[in-house]
């Protein structure tokens, strides 16, 4: 009986934790990470303010949890979209689709990252390196085949992500509403592939 009660308490605790993370994620998606207020997270999760700190010792720990879960979601989605030895074009599209599924949250993370605690920034940098790794492996295969020009992995990634992040950060300049990556993703991928193509591989 005591074991059953303990198990019920653990299940309840786990549900509360998940509810807090879900409500915090929804708030970050709407207003960004920097302004996340633990009192509002608690209210929306229908828990006491103190309950937040049973699960997360500080506000930063809650924000780090949201960022870590988001990082895993983006890289899991990217992985799920790719088949083995996918061409570079497909990897770039998959990257955009992985971001577009959570475009608002990603955009807020991008805008807020520099002002956030170290754990948040390391998760953010981790996402970028994971994506860069996928891009680099696809690029290596195409460089070997002579379809794209040799480019160092970090310069290839920084060129691509600089372009994508510019469109995300200045979204209001490129679309009147909705997803900027849905609207302009194909153009960005086509542009990148044209920049990289060897003379022989150009259409």
């Amino acid at each position: 009986m005591a074991t059953h009660r303990k198990s019920q308490r653990e299940q309840q605790k786990s549900r509360s934790r998940h509810r807090l993370i879900a409500r915090a994620t929804a708030l970050c998606e709407r207003r960004g990470f920097a302004g996340l207020a633990t009192a509002e997270v608690a209210r929306r999760a229908r828990l006491s303010h103190g309950a937040v700190f049973v699960h997360f010792p500080t506000r930063d720990a809650l924000v780090a949890e949201v960022a870590g879960a988001f990082a895993r979601e983006v890289t899991d989605r990217l992985h799920a979209l790719l088949r083995d030895a996918a061409p570079l074009r497909d990897v770039l599209y998959a990257h955009l689709r992985a971001i577009a599924s959570r475009e608002d949250l990603y955009r807020h993370a991008l805008m807020d990252a520099r002002a956030m605690p170290k754990t948040f920034r390391s998760s953010w940098i981790g996402i970028q390196s994971a994506v860069s790794g996928y891009i680099a492996r696809a690029a290596e295969r195409e460089i070997a085949r002579g379809t794209i020009r040799p480019v160092a992995p970090h310069l290839l990634f920084n060129t691509w992500v600089g372009l994508v992040h510019h469109y995300l950060m200045n979204r209001n300049l490129f679309v009147r509403g909705g997803s900027v990556l849905e609207a302009h993703g194909r153009m960005l991928v086509d542009h990148m592939m044209r920049l990289l193509a060897t003379k022989e591989a150009r259409p």
Binding site: R72, T75, D76, I125, S132, A136, A152, H154
Partner: protein, 81 residues
């Protein structure tokens, strides 16, 4: 559903090949394993992860090392380092 992750570096362990020595019973990844299958030390993993950050994003080596430290501090194998 999200995969389990390497206790050392946090890499998702999605397939048997992602695990050390291709052995799903090992809870660390192929990158955190030595050639004999044992798990690398903290310093070995730190150096490897910092090099990966520099190779993939061009981070300054000092920034890469500090970032790798922050990443490893969140992993079960190294939380007490």
């Amino acid at each position: 559903m999200s995969a389990t992750t390497c206790i050392s570096c946090g890499m998702p362990l999605r397939t048997a090949q992602d695990h050390a020595a291709g052995d799903p019973s090992k809870n660390y990844c192929l990158h955190c394993a030595r050639p004999d299958g044992s798990m690398k030390s903290y310093d070995e993993v730190l150096v490897g992860n910092a090099a990966f950050l520099t190779r993939t994003q061009g981070l300054d080596p000092h920034v890469a090392r500090e970032t790798a430290k922050a990443m490893l501090a969140q992993q079960p194998a190294w939380r007490r380092q």
